[in-house]
């Protein structure tokens, strides 16, 4: 029986449900000392004095470092725009690290950090895109002199004539709210730098990438630098980045000659973990009276926060690459600006640039439909890229859509949601004082996944874009899979074991998957960009196939048959057509290590293989989501009542886990649409710096999902899998906002920026606008 496609329970769970998981903060080697930071309470200012005298003298304090103690350690990030490990003469956002304390206990470290006195002369702050690009705004970096640090202008001379030639035209500006990724585990760093090298335990999504970077940074050899990412409590893209503590904590361990651990508090996490989204966009669209989209111009303003991160600077490239979504638009032109602001730096958050793209184009399509009095379902059908036009070259060199069936997903959505009945219910609710307003929204979304083909990740500082998979058969016939993917909740241990079990013919229970340790996994890139199944899964599949072919040589020798006649099933090799003639995997495995048992030309220990799989193209998962919102007519409280989800991620390895990925992504998408936004006041003071103010939804805030699937395989790998990790976060926000705008359309509402807070909706209901 094939395990690919089966609802198999997870191998990860027994440890995690018994409290026997091992997260970084669970580890404290003998002699561990503890770190606390002194942070800026100003968004922009000059540091005039840092007095550590009292802190240094306190009980248990081992070290208090300021910028002068790390003067020999270079800053991080983009050359010319480096982020210092500790702020030296200037601070640029609230929360920026100014000093670090190490003490014998956590409590002593925190007490001493509170005793460090910092004087800052405030400078005018620009915490938003608009304030940072305003005339006369103080530049964050005087050497650069301007807050727009990179700009790709829209240079296509044909776009404005194409827009002018369109019978109808619409222009709009939209925002995509700054979100805090908020994995429930914060960042934790534990470093033990001894005479024979550095071991670094980190809450990270890319251990080899971190190992390579840390080794280069300190001039260490990679063989004596070991990074371990044990159980990691969620990442959502925000644990790909290199934050200063990943380098400071090893430096402290080196200096103190003992293990040093930093456990971020939640309040620190909200300020220090890279935020996501944080865009504004200007869009012009030209169309005709039938609703055919003719030309699209998209100019993205990306808020990079106080320090530019390579991934953060790449977000608008991803957004504009996917600007046209699943629609055939004859002329598309894009541009963007990267902008520094006095706020937490911005980088990847689940979807990373694609939720923004889907939000813009799916809102635009609804606006055009509204303008023409067309049904939102109908306008989508009229503009879909037809199923027979794949591979489909887009306006972007990066994106050649691999495969898709957008109309098929929409058909399935209308199978699982009773649209005509909902339309009737909505109309009846408007004037019924006992009912909330009802709105119905659609999103037929498309994203780019399976990062990636050669060149996809190198620009973000990665060694390469492949993923490694290694299969090693043990003498007893069990197998260990080593993957360069670094899962942190996705269930990759289980899915890779399913894939390997099918190829090897070894029982699923006899297959282990190891990850997250540079000392055991050959090389790796990591888990991000919805790549684990499509890229790492394919590498495991290919490695397992190679091992099986080699094992057949040994089995054929033992069975005195031709290798071509050997097949493997249920933990045994047999001769085709003569099933009685068989030898168990355990015997083949055992003898594969014994010179005297091997056929000529087969070396002992040959039953292992390593593959670095580089796909030929990205994959493009898609789907059709339908959302029903209810809006309280008095208070403006907006809730998602129903969420209908049709995903097309190609081949599904484990439907239970795929569904889990969709639910989680949709939950984060609804959260962005309704609840979450990192807010700053005009001086750059964060207004939502704890989970009291930043509303991560709980169980009562989210609906029950109704889900289905269509399957359009990708030609990029032999599994046919496209990836599913980010889909929900791409499709949900436009579906929710389209539904809310639909609910309020009788009041003349045409767009609402996220999040759809009760205040905003109340204002639209009762005060004629926000």
């Amino acid at each position: 029986m094939s395990l690919v496609g089966a609802k198999v329970l997870r191998k990860e769970d027994p440890n995690l449900i018994t409290g026997r998981g091992q997260f970084v903060d669970d580890l404290s080697p003998a002699g561990t000392a503890y770190v606390a930071f002194v942070r800026s309470n100003e968004a922009h200012g000059r540091i005039t004095n840092v007095d550590t005298a009292e802190a240094v003298a306190m009980q248990g304090v081992l070290a208090v470092w300021t910028a002068s103690d790390v003067a020999d350690l270079p800053g991080l990030g983009v050359p010319g725009l480096e982020r210092p490990l500790l702020a030296a003469d200037k601070v640029r956002f609230v929360g920026e690290s100014i000093a670090v304390v190490v003490a014998e206990t956590r409590a002593q470290a925190v007490d001493a950090a509170e005793a460090v006195l910092v004087d800052i002369d405030p400078l005018p702050a620009s915490p938003t895109i608009q304030s940072a690009i305003a005339e006369g705004a103080a530049p964050l970096d005087e050497n650069v002199g301007a807050n727009v640090i990179f700009m790709l202008p829209i240079e296509d001379p044909d776009i404005d004539p194409a827009l002018a030639a369109a019978p109808r035209r619409l222009s709009t500006r939209m925002e995509n709210n700054r979100c805090v990724p908020t994995p429930i585990e914060t960042n934790v760093v534990l470093a033990d730098w001894g005479p024979s090298g550095l071991t670094l335990w980190a809450t990270h999504q890319a251990p080899h990438h971190l190992r390579n970077t840390v080794a280069t940074y300190f001039g260490l050899a990679q063989d004596t630098t070991r990074v371990i990412t044990p159980d990691v409590g969620g990442g959502f893209g925000a644990k790909i980045n290199f934050t200063p503590d990943l380098f400071l904590v090893p430096a402290l361990s080196r200096a103190l000659r003992r293990p040093v651990k930093y456990t971020q508090t939640r309040s620190e996490n909200v300020l220090m973990m890279y935020h996501g989204r944080a865009q504004e966009v200007d869009i012009d669209v030209g169309f005709d009276d039938d609703g055919s989209l003719l030309a699209l111009k998209v100019d993205v303003y990306q808020d990079n926060g106080a320090y530019a991160d390579p991934t953060g600077m790449g977000l608008p490239a991803l957004t504009t690459t996917m600007a046209a979504g699943c629609y055939k638009i004859p002329k598309v032109a894009v541009g963007w600006k990267n902008i520094l602001t006095n706020a937490t730096p911005v980088a990847a958050y689940r979807g990373a640039g694609r939720p923004e793209a889907a939000f813009y184009i799916e809102r635009i399509v609804d606006m055009v439909a509204d303008e023409l009095g067309l049904d939102p379902v109908e306008i989508r059908r009229r503009n879909f890229i037809p199923e027979d036009e794949f591979p489909y070259a887009t306006h972007s060199e990066i994106a050649v859509y691999d495969s898709g069936n957008f109309a098929g997903a929409l058909d399935e959505l209308l199978n699982i949601m009773d649209y005509p009945a909902l339309v009737q219910e909505k109309a009846a609710a408007i004037d019924d004082p006992t009912k909330p307003l009802l709105g119905i929204g659609f999103a037929t979304w498309l994203e780019i996944a399976a990062f990636g083909p050669p060149g996809a990740l190198e620009g973000f500082g990665h060694l390469a874009s492949w993923e490694s998979g290694q299969v090693r058969v043990q003498p007893d016939g069990s197998a260990i899979i080593y993957t360069g993917a670094s899962p942190h909740g996705q269930g990759t241990v289980t899915t890779l074991a399913q894939i390997a079990a099918d190829e090897l013919g070894i029982d699923f229970d006899k297959i282990s998957v190891r990850h997250g340790d540079t000392a055991t996994v050959v090389q790796g890139i990591g888990t991000m960009g919805s790549r684990a199944t499509a890229v790492a899964g394919e590498s495991v599949k290919q490695a397992a196939t190679k091992v099986t072919e080699k094992a057949k040589l040994i089995a054929a020798h033992l069975l005195e048959a031709n290798p071509e006649d050997i097949e493997v099933n249920d933990d045994a090799f047999s001769v085709k057509g003569t099933p009685a003639k068989s030898v168990p995997w355990s015997e083949v495995a055992w003898k594969s290590f014994q010179n005297l048992e091997l056929p000529e030309g087969v070396d002992p220990g040959s039953l292992e293989s390593t593959v670095h799989n580089a796909p030929p193209n990205f994959s493009f998962p898609s789907g059709a989501y339908g959302c029903v919102v209810e809006i309280d007519k008095m208070s403006g409280d907006t809730r998602v009542r129903d969420m209908y989800l049709v995903d097309d991620c190609g081949t599904v390895i484990n439907p239970l886990l795929a569904e889990g990925q969709v639910h989680g992504g949709v939950a984060q998408g609804i959260a962005q649409a309704l609840y979450e936004k990192m807010e700053y006041d005009a001086n750059g003071q964060p207004l939502t710096a704890t989970l009291v103010d930043y509303l991560v939804p709980g169980a009562p805030d989210l609906p029950t999902y109704t889900s289905s699937r269509t399957t359009t395989v990708t030609p990029n790998n032999s599994l046919g899998a496209k990836g599913i990790g980010e889909s929900g976060s791409v499709g949900a926000p436009p579906a929710v906002v389209n539904a809310a705008v639909d609910a309020l359309s009788h009041l003349g509402v045409r767009h609402i920026n996220m999040p759809l807070t009760p205040q905003k909706i109340f204002s639209l209901l009762h005060e004629g606008g926000a």
Binding site: L9, P14, N15, L16, I17, I184, E185, T186, G234, Y705
Partner: protein
């Protein structure tokens, strides 16, 4: 700063074992469990009592151990995630429910969720979806979107004896 109150002796019955220790009066129960008793299954996810990752049972009631001082637990019974499984290692019904229904992904919030669900089922052995969602309101999960957590608790309600599974054993779900 140096004149802190002296340490206080406490005896707390943790997972059936009476444990004595001297603690700083300001020590949170969550940190006492993790740092002093090395029971690291109880996780900490925030500093404002919002996330519930640190939920344990205090005399049978679900409490957030970051809002209880270790000295307040003196003489009382604490159950942590490490004390939930049977003596033979068999999973409780709630643990098994989370496994069967994919009620966890990264697993970081899971110990708190399991403790909160255990307390809920002790009070209300047959909770509706509404009951479950509202009783788990104080426990945040960022991975699952909650539906499969609801399903997990329903599974436990419908299978109060759990199922006997050897640790590490696997089986097809359906």
């Amino acid at each position: 700063m140096e004149n802190r109150p002296s340490n206080v002796p406490v005896t707390i019955n943790v997972n059936g074992n009476a444990l004595s220790a001297e603690v700083e009066p300001r020590t949170l129960l969550a940190l006492f469990l993790r740092d002093d008793l090395h029971l690291t299954g109880t996780h900490i996810g925030c500093d404002t009592s919002n996330c519930g990752a640190c939920t344990v049972l205090l005399d049978g009631d679900a409490v957030k151990s970051c809002t209880v001082l270790a000295v307040q637990a003196d003489g009382r019974d604490i159950t942590t995630i490490e004390g939930v499984a049977g003596d033979d290692g068999s999973f409780s019904a709630v643990q098994e429910g989370f496994r069967q229904e994919h009620g966890l992904q990264c697993g970081y919030c899971t110990p708190g969720m399991i403790m909160a669900a255990t307390a809920l089922l002790a009070d209300n052995p047959n909770p509706s979806e509404h009951d479950i969602r509202h009783n788990l309101e104080g426990n945040l999960c960022r991975c699952t979107g909650y539906q499969m957590i609801v399903n997990s608790v329903r599974w436990a309600a419908e299978n109060p004896d759990g199922v006997s599974v050897s640790v590490g054993g696997q089986g097809a779900h359906s």
